[in-house]
Symmetry: C2
Amino acid sequence: MPELRKDPVTGRWVIISVERGKRPSDFVVRTPPRKKGGFCPFCHGNEYTTPQEILAFRPQGSPANASNWSLRVVPNKFPALQIEGGLGREGEGIYDLMNGVGAHEVIIETPVHEHTLATMPLESVESVLWAYHYRMSDLKRDTRFRYVLIFKNEGEVAGASLEHTHSQLIAMPIVPSLVKEEMDGARTYHGYRERCIFCDMIRQELETGKRVVWENRSFIALSPFAPRVPFEVWILPKGHESHYDVPSEGKYREMAETLQQVLKRIDKTLDTPPYNFVVHTSPFDIEKNDFYHWHIEIMPKLTKLAGFEWGSGFHINPTPPEEAARYLRDARI
Amino acid sequence: MPELRKDPVTGRWVIISVERGKRPSDFVVRTPPRKKGGFCPFCHGNEYTTPQEILAFRPQGSPANASNWSLRVVPNKFPALQIEGGLGREGEGIYDLMNGVGAHEVIIETPVHEHTLATMPLESVESVLWAYHYRMSDLKRDTRFRYVLIFKNEGEVAGASLEHTHSQLIAMPIVPSLVKEEMDGARTYHGYRERCIFCDMIRQELETGKRVVWENRSFIALSPFAPRVPFEVWILPKGHESHYDVPSEGKYREMAETLQQVLKRIDKTLDTPPYNFVVHTSPFDIEKNDFYHWHIEIMPKLTKLAGFEWGSGFHINPTPPEEAARYLRDARI
């Protein structure tokens, strides 16, 4: 019998096909290996083809936009939002709109074209996580913005328009609706239990262990109880933290290790599939709080566009998270 | 400058790229023409290959599952939910789950393999809409169910696993989250204005006309103010109706005309793209009401899977709805 499961934070129900669960080999999407040769604007030596860099990691004293970098952040050449201008909030009858003010940046994670977050050195993954932090801290000072959405599209099927590994961020004057829903759900739970729902979830998952993919001292990676897609994985700090934006050196190294472990296991189990990840964190204008817990949501792109799910918010997932977690846990990487 | 627009019902924000708006020719997804030949379980003469029919339109007095049908409804051979059993609601620590009880049916819209909703005779489109009504009315009597989700995946890219045109319905013991969000938003609006927000929207759209795609006496088709995807179209009854499920002959004919007009215009403008549509209606256990207004949401599948949108609920739409409506309105069909 299939199961209907409810995500405890958002209240979203999903169908989990428990009996005829799909195994990794049932999914046949894969990202082709990186092509060598050909022009790539994100490769060493082509710095002049991107907009001027906003942040870069390179030896001290080197000039900006030189070739000796290990990570660069540049404005997106085709930004979804524009950095200049006021919010210009207005109404149009029953409708509300405002200017599309915001920042749209690209984090070029490595100069090495063939690398991915799963295959690059661990220090490089850690650099990426630090870059997220630096950009968030900087953009937070712009009072027009309420949120920085950090995300990664890996593979063309997942929406990446360039092969060279990169993440993106969009700073915006609004809070994305799924984050708002999570905030609302978490606030309600805290209202009657006086506990963080994510902390309760982590406690329960560590007790049963059956949906845990990986853990170290500070982080846990788990298959959520009611995942929307097969092999969805969430990464959360074990201790309560409302914002991504509170770094410490040891912690960021552990976060990098967790992220890379999960991605290596996904690559091994599912033959290097396309995927997306998104960082969910408390909005800028909500202070450090007891009810929301930042985390990363990773969604492999394995199933054919189940289009009606867009129009209904109702998801059918053919792989139970307990099985997905077992495959990922047991992967020989 | 791009615009941030808010859907008045759900409160969801989308980015609309007003300036470098994408025109129809910028989208290059298309559904290949129907292949003739090859075995198709939905074609005339192959009735024995589907599960036994639940409903069929055929000359009176003919036996079930015979070949002289014009429309058939059969159980899905690979159902997402199972029809037998109780709800079995239970908890698992902080989580909630229940048995995956429900009905999953396929509406085979025509015996003619080459037809689509855009190209079949208008009477056949009307039959499809009546079939939705009959199945909803029947399933409503099963007190385990709260909602019937009716949807269509047209084209492989949109999730159709068989080419022969068909819609699907899933009867379920829960309300899909996007419908619930709409209900909540509409209820709140009604709480302070004592009017239906959809009725207000229709009034405003008819006044300005700029987002109207098509209308007849009883129905309006419009590009919503804050569409998630390019060329999204909603079809609504002009008069207030909370449930799909209240038919009248003239009205269903007009609904069929509106649906076919919109799909013909989408096919003409966008070169027969894949698409999804979903019917949003009040749940069974909510009586006829003044705040919610049933409608159909049509979403052409034109853009590369913008994967992070799944993980954030934040949509970027490169085609302003005013332009989409103009193209669809002006299509020479």
